[in-house]
Symmetry: C2
Subunit: 250 residues, 2 copies
DNA sequence: GTTCGCGCTTGATCTGGGTCAAAGATATAT
DNA sequence: ATATATCTTTGACCCAGATCAAGCGCGAAC
């Protein structure tokens, strides 16, 4: 639970108000704009497993993840589900200009979100082009991430899929903690095997087997079920089938 | 199916010069703006199989597809490839604000594109917020399409994948041709079996087998290798596993 | 015409990952 | 301490789709 605290401390520095600032861009927001944001801001907490919003529901806010993990999921009538987005701290949620949610948003861990009432936020976007501009950049990043993931889903083996997911989480986790890059990364896996499976288009049994295999082969070390050490990040990327530095998943 | 008809009327209007107008939005462009667009416009033609731009290359234009089909593809070192986007006539290509291409853009059929020099186009975006706004909308649409496709890639069977792809192409094709509506759709499949496979994360043999199976079962009719008749679109959607009217793929 | 080439189909066989089933680990509640 | 529940691991078996291989159809080049 230290991690959660760390996250909060880390993010509380600049997460006060502007969700855009989470992405370290809204130095461009002047005090007047920040003032306006403050007035339409509120926080919401969710427990792991809770649904933040159902697909099709009217969406009355936008916001960003302060701590914890949320996921965007799609479900077919027969129950097959696929996560289509992983929302880590600092990621933006919601669609200015869209009436209703296109996906279920689910709290995958305990979750705190910083929300803004949608209408006024949209007005702010209209008034301040650089916020709209920033939103376009973020959307393009998300699109790249989604397409990157299409390669993972369509063409990678189960082992490569697991390695890809671990590398993404390791990278993001490390960057939040200002850690890493000395070759060794340590982090707590914030997803259950089932959540990993839903994200990778696998079954939880296959996930479990492949994680065990990566452990056996020394690609990762594993204490308990969730605490992971990656002795050689380059090796992990190789296992993921990433040429060079791919995997910009957001 | 009313929505389908709306789409049709929508797209048929024109695609003369403004790439944004392709999406039937730039009624908002005034004559001055169209004038500016005309000055930075040029056309390019490609033969089937040609590469429009390689991943990583510097991108000096944005534009949209006038006729033919282009695809965005990713390739791993060992040759596995995955299409991550299908660009049909009226679709936009390029990233204002991005230096280099993130994917290979390949002409899947003979292709004509309407291009705009990137720098001036970006300036136009800055000057006219509604163009930037429109671009955000389009990017959000693409993101939805990509996520829709993640479900296809991650959780659908081969037969469902084929049906999903056919329904997307049928819908788009019909809308371009002002055709259909009597429950029966007729179109020419513009993709080889291999291209379909690359899009669906399958092998070309599996694609061929499943197309044959759909034919055998009367879901589609097939003259020659490419000419397809869909006697009952709702049936096709059912085969695709789409609840309701899903599949908004762009 | 005949031959070449390419896209497509179909068959035979193999295998990665799914499915079904059981049991081990932790954690929280009684 | 025991019980209940959730998450995870592992084994045995199966099947959808991959792989390997052969042949078909048809347009273009000779």
């Amino acid at each position: 639970m230290n991690k959660l605290k760390d996250d909060i401390l880390h993010l509380s520095q600049d997460c006060g108000n502007c969700p855009i600032r989470h992405r370290a861009v809204c130095a461009r927001c002047d005090s007047d704009e920040l003032e306006r944001l403050d007035q339409i801001k509120y926080y919401r907490s969710f427990e792991a497993g809770q649904t933040v919003i159902w697909s099709g529901d009217r969406m009355e806010f936008v916001g960003s993840v302060v701590s914890g993990i949320a996921s965007l999921t799609q479900t077919m009538e027969d129950g097959r589900t696929q996560m289509v987005g992983l929302l880590l701290p600092s990621d933006f949620v919601g669609r200015p200009g869209r009436e209703s949610a296109a996906y279920d948003v689910v709290a995958t861990t305990d979750l705190v979100m910083c929300c803004f009432r949608k209408k006024p936020f949209e007005q702010l976007m209209v008034d301040t082009p650089h916020v709209a501009q920033r939103l376009l950049e973020m959307t393009l990043d998300e699109l790249d991430a989604a397409r990157e993931w299409m390669l993972v889903l369509g063409r990678k083996t189960a082992r490569e899929k697991i390695a890809s997911l671990l590398s993404i989480i390791a990278r993001r986790d490390a960057s939040l903690k200002l850690q890493g890059m000395q070759g060794q990364l340590v982090f707590d896996l914030p997803l259950t095997r089932e959540a990993m499976a839903d994200y990778l288009g696998l079954t939880l049994e296959t996930v479990s087997r492949q994680v065990s295999a990566l452990k056996r082969d020394g690609v990762i070390q594993l204490e308990g079920k969730r605490h992971i050490t990656i002795p050689d990040f380059a090796r992990l990327l190789e296992e993921a089938g990433d040429d060079g530095d791919g995997g910009i998943m957001v």
